[in-house]
Symmetry: C2
Subunit: 191 residues, 2 copies
């Protein structure tokens, strides 16, 4: 196998992310979103909402994180934010998935890309916290657009959103949580 | 409408790219690819195949081009590379689409992002030529994986691929065309 054969084998494997379905629907409610198009949408969020990032945030690295962040779902699946998930078991599964999937790449490329995914997962840097905030901010925007979406399916309350989603948005992008909170409250008042 | 309302209105409109279908199928042949997940896949191509770019190529700008490059298809639709297309009419349609879609953004953001799309379209810089090369390189990789895909549907020959796809891959990423050409030849010999 040549170097390019390895690179293409990885890219063909990554194609499977287009078949991993998330809980959230498209904005028009027509079908569930897949993790590949979700990842694209998030990169566009990063470009358009870059003014919500703090001065320490490296937007180019945010883009790379968002491109890579869901690849492990090819093996580990998507875990809906309001589902009941064993966090430690999920993290262990995702590490095994990362070993296999990044392991398809030539070693130098894997050594370049995997730490970007690890930094996102650890959520300790401002850059990773901003990327995580976008990942939590986009689903409520889609749910508001579609008139409830996965909130209805999972019997989600305003308090559950604040606890599981709001804290992470607020940490990485406080202005976006301020905005989302008001719109979510208005939605639940009318519902 | 606040600034954030405008940003979110743009991002909700962009969601429609997930419903624009391309000629190419997924690698497993299960369904046609949409332009949003295609855009994500291309950004991953850029990260993994960055070693195929010349020294003048700005990979961070390539990522931004690939994120934005198909947004105009929300209004103008996808034009299959082997379909019969009036190139001038298509360019005119895409300009009208760009006016409307980038026009949804706050002016300073539109003034930042639209030139990135214009640079991609003009394909005059090394950065844009590399981004274009990836956009032409990914569909044959999917067709090879799926056993023919859109080549079969459009009665495509090896010469047509060289003329319509090969020239653009070769200009921006000669090593990728060298690789693709050999694999495409082998495919058509066996077919």
């Amino acid at each position: 196998m040549t170097r390019l054969d390895q690179q293409i084998a990885f890219l063909n494997e990554a194609d499977k992310l287009k078949s991993v379905l998330r809980a959230t629907t498209l904005a028009d409610g027509s079908r569930r979103e897949n993790s590949a198009e979700h990842s694209w949408h998030l990169t566009l969020y990063a470009l358009v909402l870059a003014d919500q990032a703090g001065p320490d945030v490296d937007i180019n690295r945010v883009l790379k994180m968002l491109i890579l962040h869901d690849l492990v779902e090819i093996d580990a699946g998507d875990n809906p934010i309001f589902g009941n998930v064993d966090v430690a078991a999920m993290a262990a599964q995702e590490t095994i998935a990362a070993d296999r999937i990044f392991g398809l790449l030539p070693e130098d490329i894997a050594e370049n890309l995997r730490p970007i995914w690890e930094e996102f997962e650890a959520a300790e840097t401002s850059t990773a916290q901003f990327a995580k905030a976008l990942d939590r901010f986009q689903p409520p925007m889609l749910n508001l657009a579609s008139g409830g979406g996965s909130w209805t399916e999972y019997d989600v309350t305003e308090d559950m959103i604040a606890a599981r989603v709001g804290t992470k948005i607020e940490r990485g992008a406080p202005g976006l949580w301020h905005y989302a909170k008001a719109r979510i409250s208005a939605f639940f008042e009318q519902a």
